[in-house]
């Protein structure tokens, strides 16, 4: 649990003062990913760095796990929070193993425990410990380095993680791949995560909550669906883009649409199906894309066991637009 109360950061210089973060109030539940979203200079990174006191707070308070951060020892606080930055920040003079063990070593873990934890984390990140742990960061690709960056932040099993555009410097394919793995790992780990991003698609994909900032102010906070379907003001509307209805489709799966429509045109399945087939777990944006490219505007929906469930066509999407987002349970 992380709670911001009137959190404010003012930079004072001789002739003027700049408010980088202004009176922020919200909280993040345990096990949630909250994505800070906004253009550069909006204060999102400043707010993130205030949590582990890399930037001291000017007014207000931030509580982590029920404790005011200013009442804690700064070194202890930072060691209890995982920290991942863009370009990974791996230490080039240390091996992968030493990099991962930085925080456990400072906490005084014994050798065996560190070794075990290191292998465990590397396996979780899909990197063979035997092959990689004695290597140096420069010997790894950008994607591999970023995985190690995340493993390093997870090393001492902190309940809270701060991630500053961790996937920002990766190419789109690797980024997508790492995002999926990150979500898979988070499902087991249930960390409370603050995640800075400037990419709306990333925020929708990863966030349980999305907080949108502009010029140091919190514009809107809510689930991705709330943000996309009910932008609170012009700034949020502009920022999420004119295709927000399409983006919203990525939040829902064919399964959700099926619930609304009581299944699709089962009778059509009596004949043999020669057209395209999609999984019931596919998101609706991909489904729509399939439909638009299907010769007769229809695709067959199948479940995990390849059993045909029904036939989907574009008109089914009408059901979805009429429904208020709150009424749809998001299947993740």
């Amino acid at each position: 649990m992380i709670e911001f109360q009137n959190a404010t950061k003012v930079y004072e210089s001789v002739d003027k003062s700049v408010t980088a973060v202004n009176n922020i109030n919200f909280h993040v539940e345990p096990g949630e990913i909250c994505v800070f979203l906004g253009p550069s200079g909006c204060g999102k990174t400043t707010l993130l760095r205030m949590v582990n006191r890399l930037i001291p707070i000017t007014r207000g308070s931030i509580e982590v796990e029920g404790k005011n951060i200013n009442s804690m020892d700064i070194i202890k606080l930072r060691r209890s929070i995982g920290y991942v930055i863009q370009h990974n920040g791996l230490f080039p003079n240390m091996t992968i193993e030493d990099n991962i063990n930085v925080v456990p070593k400072m906490l005084g873990w014994d050798q065996n425990r560190m070794k075990k934890r290191c292998s465990e984390l590397m396996e979780m990140m899909g990197l063979d410990p035997g092959q990689f742990q004695k290597r140096y960061p420069f010997e790894l690709s950008g994607g591999q380095q970023q995985r190690i960056g995340i493993a390093r932040a997870l090393a001492a099993d902190p309940p809270v993680m701060l991630m500053d555009e961790p996937f920002g410097a990766l190419d789109p394919i690797i980024r997508d791949h790492l995002q999926n793995e990150f979500l898979r790992i988070q499902k087991e780990m249930k960390k409370t995560i603050l995640f800075v991003s400037h990419d709306i698609d990333e925020a929708i994909k990863l966030g349980d909550k999305v907080a949108i900032f502009d010029t140091g102010e919190l514009m809107q906070i809510g689930t991705p669906d709330e943000i996309l379907s009910n932008p609170k003001n012009d700034f949020v509307r502009d920022f999420v883009g004119d295709d927000r209805a399409l983006k919203r489709l990525t939040l829902l799966k064919v399964r959700d649409l099926m619930v609304l429509s009581d299944g699709f045109r089962k009778h059509r399945l009596n004949n043999e199906w020669h057209g395209q087939v999609i999984s019931v777990n596919e998101n609706l944006k991909t489904a729509l894309s399939h439909l638009l490219s299907a010769p007769n505007g229809e695709v067959c929906v199948v479940d995990d066991h390849n059993k045909k469930l029904g036939v989907l066509c574009v008109s089914d999407f009408n059901l979805f637009t009429e429904v208020h987002p709150k009424d749809i349970s998001i299947v993740r």
């Binding site: 760095r49 582990n52 890399l54 070194i75 202890k76 606080l77 930072r78 060691r79 209890s80 920290y83 930055i85 370009h87 920040g89 791996l90 230490f91 080039p92 003079n93 240390m94 091996t95 930085v102 925080v103 400072m106 140096y136 960061p137 420069f138 010997e139 390093r152 932040a153 701060l162």
Partner: protein
């Protein structure tokens, strides 16, 4: 690619110069002089090494800590003062320093060591400061964010990552000092300058080169040894990074 080619050409040129000097030394009878007076030569080389060794050790012991000190946040405002002072110091010719210092310390090897020490300060100081200031700020940020104390940030991140530059400064100043050390003879500091200046006074190129050739070989040898040392103490992860870049 072209950088590597240039490097090869320059290297080949240098070897050519060294070989021609050795050839010159051979024909002027320098080697014969060396063979006939092995004890003199060993004694003078020993003196020369002592001058260079002590002055380099003192210079490292002053310039590295000073460089570290002025990169600490507390003293950062002072770094331009120190660097400018060192820069101006470097513009004073070695011979002038010898003459100036002589009036305080008198004749002898202490004076020579002081002058050599003074001469070595700038390259080491410069490289120490540049090395530490050029450590990627991202890794310092990561270190701080992970809860390293400022001591840990320095010893685990800043210093190891600056070692390559610091070692380069030490190598430069040692090689320069081997050459400058020849001047020590002028104030009674001994060293291989003895043979060089004797040769000049006697118009005997052979004797002059019997001092100069060992100076050249000494400089090359010390640089080679320091390069090996560098390979040992600079973290492996950094050496390869620089090779790849």
């Amino acid at each position: 690619m072209s950088g590597k080619k240039t490097e090869q050409i320059v290297k080949a040129g240098l070897y050519l110069i060294i070989i021609s000097i050795l050839g010159w030394a051979y024909f002027t009878g320098a080697f014969q002089f060396i063979i006939e007076n092995p004890k003199d030569l060993l004694y003078l080389t020993g003196q020369h090494l002592k001058l260079v060794g002590i002055s380099a050790a003192l210079a490292i012991a002053t310039a590295v800590p000073l460089g570290i000190l002025i990169t600490r946040p507390k003293f950062k405002r002072l770094d331009w003062v120190v660097l400018n002072f060192a820069n101006i110091g470097q513009t004073v010719p070695s011979l002038a320093i010898l003459a100036l210092v002589m009036s305080y310390f008198g004749l002898g090897w202490q004076t020579a060591i002081f002058a050599l020490w003074f001469n070595s300060l700038l390259p080491i100081l410069r490289n120490t400061v540049a090395g530490i200031e050029n450590v990627n700020p991202q890794i310092i940020d990561a270190g701080n964010g992970m809860g390293m104390t400022s001591k840990q940030v320095f010893f685990k991140l800043e210093l190891p990552n600056a070692l390559y530059a610091i070692m380069a400064g030490i190598r430069t100043s040692v090689v320069i000092n081997v050459g400058t050390g020849a001047l020590a003879f002028l104030i009674g500091g001994g060293g291989l300058g003895d043979l060089i200046f004797t040769g000049i006074s006697l118009y005997d190129t052979g004797i002059m080169l019997s001092g100069a050739v060992p100076v050249i070989l000494l400089a090359i040898l010390l640089d080679f040894l320091l390069e090996k040392l560098e390979k040992i103490i600079v973290p492996r992860g950094l050496q390869r990074t620089l090779e790849a870049a």
